[in-house]
């Protein structure tokens, strides 16, 4: 066990980390975050996706200790049940979920996409989600939700929204 300080969802957190322990288990078991999910442990499916300094990162495979000094954002860092991020709201509005287990990873990959491309085409979205798998077959709705979120965010820039990350 070693102590590690990470900035997670805007708060500096001092954490106990085992040697080689991937970030995912620190987030889920150490901090009780339920957004990042375990899916494959091989960086194949994207269910564990979080953002590290704004870029997508597979928390299931990256040792937490290697991330010292980075800023980590999980699904919980985007919005809340009461005040969802436009992406979260768009997934609700489009009913873009079946079991929804993959959705947190989809939203995080989409967040990274919209940060660099506010007006993505269907193809841009497909490429941004190339590392995210969905077993239920919700793909079409996920694409629609991301386009809807992009549109909302263009109309109402994120900075002007209260309480958003």
């Amino acid at each position: 066990m070693a102590k590690l300080t990470l900035n997670i969802n805007g708060t500096a957190q001092e954490l106990d980390v085992e040697a080689g322990e991937p970030l995912l288990y620190v987030l889920r078991n150490g901090l009780g975050l339920k957004g990042p999910k375990f899916g494959c442990g091989l960086s194949e499916c994207g269910a564990c996706t979080v953002l590290a300094d704004g870029k997508p990162l597979r928390a299931c495979i990256v040792p937490a200790a290697s991330l010292a000094g980075r800023t980590i954002t999980t699904l919980e860092g985007l919005g809340t049940l009461e005040n969802p991020h436009p992406l979260q709201q768009a997934f609700i509005d489009e009913q873009a979920a079946q079991c929804a287990y993959c959705i947190p990873g989809m939203i995080m990959s989409a967040k990274a996409l919209l940060d660099r491309n506010p007006e993505p085409s269907d193809e841009d979205i497909a490429w941004a989600l190339a590392g995210n798998l969905c077993g239920c077959g919700t793909h079409l709705r996920i694409v629609r939700a991301i386009k809807r979120a992009a549109s909302t965010m263009r109309e109402t820039p994120i900075d002007s929204r209260e309480g958003s990350a």
Binding site: V62, R116, W127, A130
Partner: protein, 430 residues
């Protein structure tokens, strides 16, 4: 020296293409060659020794198909003349070599002639195995006879005309095949000679690493200069800076036994198979002998720039690639999502075995053969003490996406500006 012998024979053959003369020469050689060189460190017991030699000769890789039983054959080899399938070499009487006598096995290994007297396609490397001593061949046979017989019949070869006529192989052999046991060379010490025997007679390194002639024989004038086989590039492993000249002995040893040197070199494709199935099982002194042998292979140039050359090219490169900025951005996005969590491109993470892309010939090679291929096939490699796995992305990413990744990786880490297309990737899929 073995190289010179080859040249002499080839010259002789060119002068007098008469079959009976060749037979005469071959007979002469059999008599005049030095006694066979055996692997002395191998255990005395014939079956145990056979097992070690079978590993050193890596029979299993080519004779075991995906999801198939060991040694049962059925691996497809796509050639420009059609598809060949490796044979079942388990001791099954009907489908394998259960009915083979020692002499049948010897004739196949030494002369490239099957049990029915047919010429064997040289995809089976009897051109190298011919150098193996009689005792070693018999030890391999003894070991194979202890394996589980598998009643599996590999598919029939699908060779196009006229290559479906085995008798034509007689001509091929005349040009490309020297029947005869291993000979040491005067300038070799015992270690180098052992390394040569292990690398040539058993390991048949040249089958992948040596370029081919017009007739698909080995071009030993450019021994180990690098070649492309089975869709993978086997890189230059000669002793110069374009080969393994800058590798330390420790690095070479580590590479051969584990399949990688962290942050520098990593094996994939057929070389990963060689590590998994063969090299990791070899004794330290045998690996050291192979390293010693590689050290004295004459340097050859390579079409893969060195790290220094890559850095030079990168420093002189114009700032951006406006015409390809969009695909580069797409490639970067894909890289961040699919690759970066293991490969840590900016070097800030621990990296393990996977970072520092510029060190890898795979990345620097402007042809991108292995770069594309490793993304398609992934890596599943067992080294001496570590299993390494990279997923195969052939069904997880599209051709366009793999091309974009290859372009991004090649440009940012490999220093080249190759423009791979979806068609290039499609061509690499089986």
């Amino acid at each position: 020296m073995i190289l010179n012998c080859h040249l002499v024979y080839r010259a002789l053959r060119l002068c007098c293409c008469v079959a009976c003369r060749l037979v005469g020469i071959a007979a002469l050689l059999l008599i005049t060659k030095a006694p066979a060189y055996a692997v002395e460190s191998a255990p005395a017991d014939q079956v145990a020794r056979g097992e070690y030699l079978t590993r050193a000769a890596n029979c299993i890789s080519c004779h075991t198909r995906d999801n198939g039983e060991p040694f049962a054959g059925g691996v497809a080899f796509e050639t420009s003349f059609g598809t060949l399938y490796s044979t079942n070499i388990t001791p099954d009487d009907e489908h394998g070599i259960g009915a083979w006598r020692d002499e049948d096995f010897l004739r196949a290994m030494h002369e490239g002639i099957g049990r029915e007297g047919e010429h064997l396609y040289p995809i089976f490397p009897y051109t190298d195995y011919t150098q193996m001593s009689r005792d070693d061949v018999l030890a391999i046979h003894a070991y194979l006879k202890t394996r589980e017989p598998i009643d599996y019949q590999p598919p029939a070869n699908e060779m196009t005309f006229p290559f479906n006529h085995r008798r034509l192989l007689w001509f091929w052999k005349m040009i490309n095949f020297d029947e005869g046991r291993f000979e040491t060379a005067p300038q070799w010490d015992e270690t180098v000679a052992r390394g040569a025997y292990l690398s040539e007679a058993l390991g048949h390194c040249g089958q992948c690493h040596t370029p081919r002639t017009w007739s698909q024989g080995l071009d030993n004038d450019h021994k180990f200069a690098g070649a492309t086989q089975r869709g993978w590039k086997a890189f230059n492993i000669t002793s110069g800076p374009d080969g393994i000249g800058n590798w330390s002995d420790d690095e070479l040893t580590q590479y051969l036994t584990t399949g990688h040197v962290p942050n520098k070199y990593a094996s994939a494709g057929p070389m990963a198979e060689v590590v998994t199935d063969s090299l990791r099982h070899l004794r330290d002194e045998d690996i050291a002998a192979m390293v010693a042998y590689l050290r004295q292979i004459p340097p050859q140039p390579s079409d893969v720039p060195t790290i220094a050359e890559v850095r030079d090219m990168q420093s002189q490169r114009r700032q951006d690639m406006t015409s390809r900025a969009e695909t580069m951005k797409q490639g970067e996005q894909l890289f961040m999502a699919n690759c970066a969590s293991c490969h840590y491109p900016d070097g800030s993470g621990p990296g393990g075995a996977y970072s520092n892309f510029e060190a890898h010939s795979v990345v620097r090679d402007p042809q991108g053969t292995n770069l594309i291929r490793v993304m398609l096939e992934g890596i599943d490699r067992q080294g001496r003490d570590m299993h390494v796995f990279m997923p195969a992305y052939r069904d997880l990413l599209s051709d366009e996406q793999i091309a974009a990744l290859a372009n991004y990786i090649g440009y940012h880490f490999g220093g080249h500006e190759a423009d791979f297309s979806a068609e290039d990737v499609a061509a690499q899929r089986n």
